[in-house]
């Protein structure tokens, strides 16, 4: 039996055809879905996202070209500027939602998925799983992406805008985050975990 997390209705668990999705009979909330190879997909998207995340943080996002001089900023530099402007709370918020939380999310995913793939049970599985659930809503890479674009248009009248490598990495990362969210399958994770003990 399962209970809907949005209306608490008890319902029987049914086996699903490939790509099927179970919704609550009463309120329509998604209960679970069956993705073919959901585990492998989660793993692939996570590893891809880690590479892109590293790029998005290592390279400059955008730059301004002015009198032959190019001024660029990275994500972390943005946070540091806010901090130096005496906007410490804002700096902390931007840091948390665009760097820390997305990093923790990817780290937790990899920590759960990679050992399971190798047939080992990661230590503190439950703790990391809960941390992953808690961190999820606070990673806002896709919003940041849109914010950078809006900022670019705003600056267009000041100077020539140069897009950096990190901007493209960020755009791809946004897609991978969406893919991770769509394939995230807690039932599969727990099934693999309990199969090991």
């Amino acid at each position: 039996m399962i209970a809907c997390h949005e209306c608490d209705l008890l319902q029987r668990e049914v086996p699903l055809p490939r790509g099927g999705i179970v919704r609550c009979r009463r309120c329509g909330a998604e209960q679970y879905r069956s993705h073919p190879h959901s585990f492998e997909r989660m793993l692939a998207f996570t590893l891809g996202a880690i590479a892109l995340f590293a790029m998005a943080n290592a390279f400059p996002i955008v730059g301004l070209k002015l009198e032959g001089q190019v001024i660029e900023t990275t994500l972390f530099h943005t946070v540091r500027t806010l901090y130096n402007e005496d906007m410490k709370s804002l700096a902390a918020l931007v840091f948390a939602t665009t760097i820390l939380m997305p990093a923790l999310e990817l780290a937790a995913m990899a920590y759960l998925l990679v050992p399971l793939k190798l047939g080992r049970a990661p230590r503190h599985f439950a703790l990391v799983f809960r941390a992953l659930q808690a961190v999820g809503p606070w990673g806002m890479v896709e919003v940041l992406m849109l914010g950078v674009l809006v900022a670019l248009v705003k600056l267009l009248h000041l100077a020539t805008v140069v897009t950096g490598i990190a901007l493209w990495a960020l755009a791809a990362l946004m897609l991978l985050y969406a893919a991770i969210a769509a394939t995230f399958d807690p039932r599969e994770l727990w099934a693999r975990r309990s199969a090991l003990t």
Binding site: E6, A29, T78, L90, L93, A126, F129, Q133, V148
Partner: protein, 214 residues
């Protein structure tokens, strides 16, 4: 249970929010932990209504400075200027980027306001134990949860602009107090939406015809 609409709570079962496992509650237990993942499980989120009200009212109060105080100060050779959210929208509209004006207007002004109105509707209807349109109200809650994050847009815009323009002598741009208030609104409404328990919408449904909750 004619329509087999038993809820987990009515049968003494608790559902874990983190991993989805159903577990049987110990009798008279107030807090319990999920036997599989160890997360705290509740019948309903604790003090859901009062917590949501508290966070929501705080967000409403902050919404005023967020819209009135400047998000950004711009100083250049040509003078000093302060921008609120609305003046940013007007700027984009006038310079022909009407689509950006719409995005910012939607993400920064409409979404927070609609979100707060929606939470008030949900809270009031739950407190009155209303049985009006539970499916739509649950959908409303889902939308509120989903769109909340997009209001961070303006905060990021300010952050990126400040970081880029700081680096040169062309102009100085500094973030204003409105940006902090605005970020506060977004974070508080996100917490408010998280502390609201949508199962409360459905609880009055089990009390049909004076029957015991079944």
């Amino acid at each position: 249970m004619s329509r087999a609409s038993a809820t987990a709570a009515s049968l003494g079962l608790l559902v874990c929010h983190a991993c989805g496992l159903l577990s049987r509650a110990a009798p008279h237990a107030h807090d319990a932990y999920c036997p599989r993942c160890g997360a705290r499980v509740h019948w309903r989120k604790p003090n859901s209504i009062s917590r949501t009200w508290a966070l929501l009212i705080a967000a409403m109060v902050l919404y005023i400075p967020a819209n009135v105080l400047p998000m950004m100060y711009t100083g250049s050779l040509f003078g000093f200027q302060s921008d609120t959210i609305m003046s940013g929208v007007v700027f984009f509209w006038k310079t022909g980027s009407w689509y950006l004006a719409l995005i910012i207007f939607f993400a920064s002004i409409t979404v927070p306001m609609l979100k707060m109105i929606a939470l008030v509707v949900l809270l009031v209807s739950v407190q009155r134990r209303s049985r009006w349109q539970p499916v739509q109200r649950t959908q409303l809650y889902r939308v509120v949860e989903f769109v909340g994050r997009w209001s961070m847009l303006d905060v990021y815009v300010v952050a990126v602009i400040v970081a880029l323009v700081q680096l040169q002598a062309l102009a100085t741009i500094t973030p204003g107090p409105g940006a902090i208030a605005f970020a506060g609104v977004v974070v508080l409404t996100m917490f408010a939406a998280m502390s609201f328990d949508p199962r409360l919408i459905w609880d009055p449904m089990g009390e049909e015809d004076g029957r015991a909750p079944a």
